[in-house]
């Protein structure tokens, strides 16, 4: 009898604790989502004054906010492509070949990851102003590529750790030349590492504030725009956009986690 109650208490305590952790994680997000439907117009926009879609309507009239979002997405896509290409080649190259100074290069990779972002931001700013590269989209793309490349390298390298090089030899043995082997064997086997790295690079780029702050010139990315606007409390149209981004992200996660893509692929193949 006693043992049974003990177990029940244990179980309830576990549920309560777990619930608190999740509440702590998700309550702030819930506030944002709720506030995006809040009809209040008085700053700081926190008292509930009824349900409305007004902020979503207003959002699509707010051209500067929408533009900044477009800029952020464009920078994220371009810098992700660059970082993925450079990072993948670097990881494969460092895996396959032995050369002098490999250990040093290896160690240096961790620097952009561990140094405070503010240091990276300032040094990039110094670099760009000394080389007279005008600050704007271009410098933002360079900067974002710089800090996300190591993450791609680490991800691809983790995949390479369990990689059996003899499958490439087997491919060549069976009549595939080097290019066909890279396309048919190397790339598909490394794909999970590459796409994981790319996803990481994309998220890092999309919500970067500090490095962007130093390298943006006149261009305003979405996070910078948000930072600017919160001086007067978080405007509900920012909440609205945040909610849309949240929905988009959740859909993306569901898409990648479920077998949906595989099923569609299989359908197309048939």
């Amino acid at each position: 009898m006693k043992r049974k109650t003990k177990a029940a208490v244990k179980k309830i305590a576990g549920i309560v604790f777990c619930g608190l952790v999740y509440l702590f994680l998700f309550l702030p997000i819930a506030v944002i989502v709720t506030n995006s439907f809040n009809a209040t117009t008085a700053k700081p926009y926190l008292t509930w004054r009824g349900f409305t879609f007004d902020w979503y309507v207003k959002l699509f009239d707010n051209n500067t906010l929408l533009t900044s979002f477009g800029v952020t997405i464009a920078i994220a896509i371009i810098s992700t492509l660059l970082a993925t290409a450079i990072g993948t080649l670097a990881a494969v190259g460092m895996y396959k070949y032995k050369f002098r100074g490999k250990g040093l290069i290896d160690g240096l990779l961790y620097i952009p990851v561990v140094i405070p972002e503010i240091v990276l931001g300032i040094s990039l700013l110094t670099l760009f102003s000394n080389t007279h590269i005008p600050r704007g989209m271009l410098t933002l793309i360079f900067a974002h590529t710089t800090f996300s490349t190591p993450y791609v390298i680490f991800n691809v390298r983790a995949r390479l750790a369990g990689y059996d090089q003899s499958i490439e030899e087997a491919s060549m043995d069976l009549g595939a030349n080097r290019i066909a082997t890279f396309k048919n064997i190397t790339l598909p086997v490394l794909a999970p590492g590459i796409s994981g790295g790319a996803l990481l690079a994309f998220t890092l780029s999309i919500d970067d504030v500090i490095v962007s702050y130093f390298t943006n010139g006149q261009v305003k990315t979405f996070p910078l725009k948000v930072m600017e606007s919160i001086k007067s409390g978080v405007a509900p149209d920012v909440n609205a956009l945040s909610t849309l981004i949240l929905i988009g992200t959740i859909l993306l996660v569901i898409l990648t986690k479920s077998d949906l893509i595989k099923k569609i692929k299989a359908l197309v193949k048939r």
Binding site: D164, A170, S171, D173, A176, N177, N184
Partner: protein, 371 residues
């Protein structure tokens, strides 16, 4: 071996160096069409390197390799009519069994219906029909091995190279796969060049065995030749168990040799030697005989150290006066008292005489040349 056999792979004066490391030394070998040839040696003897040079993954430092009379030096691995079964299987993890086996045909741009037909046929041949849609990770070790073999055979190679393909399997499965590989080879009549360090495996499967040691070819021959007439002391000790007596010829007369070894001397038949030659005498444990009374022509005796009854045979260890141990295997018979004195002998022809001076001389010459 029938002498009208056609040579399919010809390896001529091949050397392979990695920096200062001389891995394969002046290697010459003819491989005949349709035979099962095994490269046998302990790890690091250069056998895998030799195989990889035939496949095209390594280039010989000097010398040439021809397949069907054509020098393949300038051919990439994907241009050679040889296929390889890798030690690690090297199956493509992201492809189904069907796609793995079909890969070689797809690369050769064979039409889809023909691919389907040939893959199905090949999977049936290795008894994996019905596994088409599985992935390599869903198969057992033995099944993976069959897929690797099917994949390598699908292009109907002139020569199939196998690099210790059964090394990762457990003993029972290995024995079964040995017989199956042999059956496949006979059925398809494809030349197999098989690398292994397992002498029993080599004896079971091969038409001919090529024994290598430290990059040097020691002997090529049928399992019978290799076991019965080893060419070097290395071969004698590497294949099966044996007792080696090092010594020299005291007197050579009328085809009889009087040989002195450290703890004794004896007279055997032999013509290839003259007085003073250094030699090793190899006598297999199952050919070694003993008597409790002295035997004429033999002055070789010791004391019984141990006798172990292991069912089919009685194993006896005799210690000679210099402390060397001699192993004797007899069909179970009467036991000897421990510590008793026995006199060793053998029948004429059961002792294999191996020149050792030649080997010492050869390596001495080689050392001088190397320097």
């Amino acid at each position: 071996m029938a002498d009208e056999k056609k040579v399919i792979v010809e390896i001529k004066n091949v050397n392979k160096l990695y920096g200062d490391n001389h891995v394969v030394k002046d290697f010459n070998l003819d491989v005949y069409e349709g035979e099962f040839l095994t490269l046998l040696g302990s790890s690091g003897c250069g056998k895998t390197t030799t195989l990889r040079m035939i496949a095209g993954f390594e280039e010989p430092t000097s010398g040439s390799i021809s397949v069907e009379g054509e020098d393949i030096h300038n051919k990439e691995p994907y241009e050679r009519d040889v296929n390889t079964v890798f030690q690690s299987y090297a199956l493509f993890p992201h492809m189904t069994i069907y796609d793995n086996v079909a890969y070689g045909l797809k690369m050769k741009k064979v039409k889809k219906p023909e691919i389907k037909e040939r893959v199905t046929e090949m999977l049936d041949l290795v008894q994996l029909g019905g596994f088409e849609r599985r992935y390599p990770s869903q198969l057992s070790g033995g099944q993976k091995q069959r897929v690797a073999i099917a994949r390598a055979l699908i292009n109907k190679p002139k020569v199939l190279l196998l690099d210790e393909p059964l090394g990762a399997l457990d003993l029972k499965l290995r024995k079964q796969m040995q017989l199956e590989l042999k059956r496949l080879q006979k059925k398809l009549n494809i030349t197999f060049i098989y690398v292994t360090h397992d002498q029993e495996e080599a004896l079971t499967m091969s038409d001919r065995i090529c024994i290598m040691n430290e990059g040097v070819l020691q002997q090529v021959g049928t399992p019978f030749d290799i076991y019965e007439t080893p060419a070097t002391k290395f071969v004698a000790t590497f294949i099966g168990e044996t007792n080696i007596f090092d010594g020299h010829v005291l007197l050579a007369e009328n085809g009889r040799l009087h040989i002195a070894v450290e703890p004794g001397d004896f007279v055997v038949n032999g013509t290839d030697f003259i007085s003073g030659d250094m030699l090793s005498v190899s006598v297999r444990p199952e050919r070694m005989l003993y008597s409790e009374t002295p035997v004429e022509g033999f002055n070789l005796s010791g004391t019984v150290k141990d006798q172990i009854y292991v069912g089919s045979v009685l194993k006896t260890v005799v210690v000679l006066s210099n402390g060397n141990e001699v192993k004797i295997e007899r069909l179970a018979g009467q036991e000897l008292p421990k510590g008793g004195r026995v006199y060793l002998y053998w029948n004429d022809g059961d002792a294999k005489l191996i020149h050792t001076f030649d080997n010492v001389f050869a390596s001495a010459v080689e050392n001088i040349v190397m320097e």
